[in-house]
Symmetry: C2
Subunit: 336 residues, 2 copies
Amino acid sequence: MTRISELGEKKVIETIMECLDKMPDVPVPFGDDVSAVDFDSDTLAVVKTDMLVGKTDVPPGMSLRQAARKAVVMNISDFAAKGVKPLVLLVALGLPRSFTEEDIRQIGLGLNEGAREYDAYVIGGDTNEASDLVISCSLLGTCDKHTLVRRTGARPGDLIAVTGHFGKTASGLKILLEGLSAPQEIKKTLTEAVLMPKARLREGLALAQTGALTASIDSSDGLAWSLHELSDASNVGFIIDRIPTAPEVEEFAEKCGLDPMELGLYGGEEYELITTVEPALWGAASSAAIELQTPLTKIGRATEEKELKLEVNGRTRPIERKGWEHFTTLASSFSS
Amino acid sequence: MTRISELGEKKVIETIMECLDKMPDVPVPFGDDVSAVDFDSDTLAVVKTDMLVGKTDVPPGMSLRQAARKAVVMNISDFAAKGVKPLVLLVALGLPRSFTEEDIRQIGLGLNEGAREYDAYVIGGDTNEASDLVISCSLLGTCDKHTLVRRTGARPGDLIAVTGHFGKTASGLKILLEGLSAPQEIKKTLTEAVLMPKARLREGLALAQTGALTASIDSSDGLAWSLHELSDASNVGFIIDRIPTAPEVEEFAEKCGLDPMELGLYGGEEYELITTVEPALWGAASSAAIELQTPLTKIGRATEEKELKLEVNGRTRPIERKGWEHFTTLASSFSS
């Protein structure tokens, strides 16, 4: 009998999906970041659930308040990638018996903080006793049917663009989990990226509104892994010619003898947006990002040939389907 | 520092609620069984989350498939009590590493079974590694604003009516957890009530449609506890003159020297509906139940004096705020 520790998350999700009757005419295809049902002829009710487990999702150095906030932010980020505004949040908690009243208060504060940063409210939940800390958030929002950006729409020739800079969380996790050292002036930036992640909600909403995006995903599983997901869903390949790594990542990589490109590609817990853009509408997407003072960088293009390649400095190498492996062993979403 | 094991669920929920910004103009009052937001001028989007934890919610003798099904049914039951039809379900799973592929399949089958029995679909989710089995379900449905039955509407003089018969799960839990024995011909009925609970969805929808209900709750925390909740929310008392216990419960109680009324009052995990009915509309409520061939029994009336009393056989005694204590130590819902 194969145990799930050997099965891997893909197979676990497949096994569950095989058991589920498929709902006819779901407006968001199976396997996307959010689920939705038709509310009326123009509007979708959009929902998402994502669970944070203390053992696998809370690195050393992260407070309970930060963990609770992160549990909210990781859900918000998926809405951001789809261009959907979150309205309300439900939270189911599994709490170890040893937790104190102050622990509970810190969790409450973190949940509220995560929601209010994005104009959402926690309006209900459920508390239980459990061995691990478990924070299971469910988000609800509504969205114009034509605005929601799926994973499936990328076409050969589309540009790929990302918000922000990559590699900070991979570097931060190396500091927090593996004890690597970094100069004080960059250490805070790198660890804060892990401890206080931000979802690109304003950017996701504004970009979706332009109509320029053909597909979108967040980079929560790492840039490489998320590109593979997008590639699978849209049935296109990608040639990537640039990984916009943060200057702090460059410095950290140099000090530690690491490859900054590897930190940028194979990280995780990083909540940037990865979008494909119709080339003729690049100007609209770019303007929307400029208005928000957020970097939106073209990093390559979609190809008919379904391969993922990195072409930098005249060298081509494959982009592997891997992410941050030591931290989260089994954590992924499914939709049916 | 007080630990939550001493704090109790009420205080845990209070502590979290104190941290949350209150959403203005929520259509369902804080503390009800479901949460809702206005979708349009007539329609509510209704949501609910409830977590099942292996350690506290799965008694010996319950299979994984039954546990997964129960995780769905307990959410459906809350929708039933509010008169809201569930549409779709999201499921976040915490899975112990030792689980096998077949275990996962049994969970998938149970989830699907629970949803499809009530015409809902599982349309998304999330899988994680955790120490306990955790099944966190979130339900979404829509509802006409005027149909939803809150906890808060009971008025002095209203009738109290319940569906079905009570005491089966309390008896079943005594068999499964405490090893009490029961004659074979009733044992199955009593344990099945625990292992394969049914939500009164058809009844809840039909009763809400009549417009006869002033308040409603399910009996998942036991009849007594749920009556106290309803009393608190509506600020009325109740005089109960009848506890409709199942014949199997009478027999079991007699064999084991137990009080059948105690089994009916102080149980839990029993998913009947407890409703208050406007006396002039009793006929409509009663007809709706008869049409579904479901017993709907008047068990008493709401009073201005905020006390809960049991008046049977000429004897009056207080109804205590207690439920099944040995099984679930900390499991409750909050809404804000």
